[in-house]
Symmetry: C3
């Protein structure tokens, strides 16, 4: 067999390391497409002049573009036969990434847990995105429910890893260069609100909505070289329970992040991902809205920036003025994403 | 409130200056997307080698890409609560813009006129797009009909500005570097017709048609960081009188300009915008056609280029062999755009 | 007439040379769009670091991006009034092309053959894509069925050229720089299979499927500055026998090539095109699948790479596990493309 059928649950071994294909040089072309697909307006990532004024050598990539490129490489080895993408934890953006850099990804299998019905199992991986010199730019854990080829196959060693509920903000503090917060122009950035203006418990409706088209999510998902066929093959999708293509969960994350500009314009860089859950699928024609809650604020000993712990909830076809949220054991039926992360904001 | 609800008519003050977010570094990625979204074929903007042969340092951006980027920034402050974009005047492209430059926009409120029913008012702004050094690259006036938050609110000072019906071509003459018209290769440019071959009153049907898809105009409008929700939120649009998303008027301008290549291939750079009107809305699935009339020709004392004053009319779902035009007080029902502008053409 | 109505069959002269508009500088922006539109994952074209490790100065363009740009220029002069694109032969990629290079195209009319009903005729051209210095980067022959303006018009001279059935692989051997095959990292490339692992007669189902949207093929076809109206004008298409827009045949070639990664990940560069036929049209909403057959292997005296002669067959709405193929005089009704080409693979 010269083609990749994808791995099944019994093909993974605890502790094994997988070097993923295909390394990818990110460019100004990717940045333009990212802007066109999601509409982010964070000034640091949009303007070299703005970025340079506060101490960057030039505009860095949107952190989620880095995330998607690093993530995309893992799909052929990790989630081609996945039933569901269950969660994220311990995500850390180690430094800004710039156009011209080459990213590649290695994953370590850090957990395996067979389902009680023996049809599937949960694979836990820690994926590390590196630059051409091998230095880490991003690492995160995710766990996915993967089919077994043979329900009877035995699993050599099982283990459920203990993952932090929240990334320690001190561990994220060094991810940005030293910045000149006094040169951060609030008019050009689009909001007068700095780190000190946000309070724990504050809720912000991001107001705007964005309708998603098939062409858009396909273009995005291919840009990230994410090959999961559920996003691309409508002929095969007709026979699934949804009857149509599923939109890559990361597409929702990027839409929610871009929408969050309206209320969080100065949360200009992601620092860490504490937890993330794709609560329900998104389909073409649906309109995405989002709201955020300030879960915490962290002063990490820098006089230029602080960290906000944010929880951004995205919905489909329901504006977020009422902050649709968890309900009992589950969620308001409109909720599709619940993401808990740290972001930098100027002081 | 940390989110931007948009300004209402009574929030504007005559003479006030608004510095818009978000500065934007334009790149080769934006150029590629612009090509892919509209299909322009003007050789100067397409080929560094062609541009250099006639005296440019490299290919400049399509002038309308510059226009859309400069325009997009004004939307959150000027037209978020606009009912209609009424017109343009006194537009001038001051110099070519190149990939790598950073653009930002400042608008001055030059006119305010409340409607007689006091529900709305017309806001006139002069928007100036500048480079990182603060030098103007483009300025234009536009006026929009904006809702009042409170119909009873008083307006401090009203004024209807007097705007030129036509930009003086002498004021535009210096917008291009000195070019070597003898090195302008007509085969590569796609047409044998130079400045002297066009006559006032001449009408040209641009023949080709272009059907627009939702994904295309959304991708374009986000690329320009234009945030007007009528272009993106189909869930909200269902309850409007159109029942669907409206396409950004600038999308029509760019389509018409790209179509105009067939007949005006050597009108390679825009110089000024005299007047512009979005006569009717365009929707996804519609096909855009265009025709142009030569309103005037201007020899501005350069031996390399002259200026054509062109009026380009775009229609939807109706080819333009019969030059559909004004009818009585209004327009042929197929007309969607009436744009009057100056363009450079080699002698 | 200042607009281009396209040439008709009687407008061509045997031996004439046509310099096509519009030269085009290809950039990292075009590369990003190509990735986003087709999803290729070949490591050499994706990663500067990977390319440099084996001896390239940086990542070259995907060869099909070069092909489409070179091809696009010929459309206004060759195929605007074409009824059908009949075939390709004698295609040779002469060297890698890099972002920043400017491509232009010249075609020579090498054959003319009027149809027996005198309504149409076949035009054979050899199109040569060159860099800014005039050096050839790609040449290929194609022949198209073109309408006559006047069925009675006489044809000065007819000739059916004799075209090679297969390009001699020795003539293609020099198209790549000398590479260090030992530095070719099979993990990062995505497959352990080198040149020696493929056998004549081997058949590979590429498994994955890709559904095509109107916005996608229009964005791609405009990127290539291909102006054939059948791809863009749905208003006019309603009155054709298909009743809708046709997708550019080159779009299918690129999709099939990208799908072929799954099974041919190390066939990283195209060398030549022996033959190609668009067997049936593709429409928006259709899903493309592909399979390949190894027609031949050629050792061309290089110790770094060999050449595989591949035949890639694409289908619509039918997976290729059963290798749908020719049937009697024609083809399995699902087949849309039959492409015979040479590709380099590391030893």
């Amino acid at each position: 067999m010269k083609t990749n059928p994808g791995r099944f649950f019994e093909d993974y071994r605890l502790g094994e390391t997988i070097r993923h294909a295909t390394p990818r040089t990110v460019t100004a072309g990717d940045v333009a497409l990212y802007t066109a697909l999601y509409g982010p307006r964070f000034a640091v990532q949009s303007s070299d002049a703005f970025a340079q004024a506060i101490g960057y050598p030039r505009s860095p990539l949107d952190d989620l573009l880095t995330f998607h490129v690093v993530f995309g490489k893992t799909v052929p080895d990790i989630s081609l036969n996945a039933v569901a993408n269950l969660g994220y934890a311990e995500g850390g953006f180690r430094r800004p990434v710039y156009p011209g850099e080459t990213l590649s990804t290695v994953s370590e299998v850090i957990g395996l847990k067979e389902s009680s019905n023996r049809q599937t199992g949960v694979v836990y991986v820690r994926s590390v995105g590196s630059d051409a010199a091998g230095e880490t730019v991003l690492s995160y854990c995710r766990w996915v429910l993967v089919r077994k080829r043979d329900p009877q196959a035995a699993i050599a060693e099982e283990h459920v890893p203990s993952l932090a509920k929240v990334v320690d903000p001190q561990d994220l503090a060094g991810a940005l260069p030293r910045l000149d917060a006094s040169a951060y122009d609030l008019d050009l950035a689009g909001s007068p609100h700095r780190f000190g203006d946000y309070q724990r418990g504050e809720r912000i409706d991001h107001v705007d909505g964005m309708t998603v088209e098939e062409a858009e999510h396909q273009i995005a998902t291919r840009l990230f070289q994410n090959t999961a066929k559920v996003h691309f093959d409508n002929h095969a999708a007709k026979d699934t329970r949804f009857g149509r293509r599923l939109i890559y969960g990361g597409h929702v994350i990027s839409l929610a992040r871009a929408l969050s500009f309206n209320g969080l314009a100065n949360a200009f860089a992601l620092a860490g991902i504490n937890a993330g859950r794709h609560v329900a699928p998104l389909f073409s024609g649906d309109t995405v809205y989002a709201w955020s809650e300030v879960l915490d604020t962290a002063d990490v000993g820098r006089d230029d920036v602080g960290l906000l712990r944010l929880r951004t909830v995205a919905t489909k076809n329901q504006p977020c003025g009422a902050h649709p949220d968890r309900q009992g054991e589950g969620y308001d039926p409109a909720v599709i994403l619940d993401l808990d992360y740290w972001a930098f904001m100027p002081k």
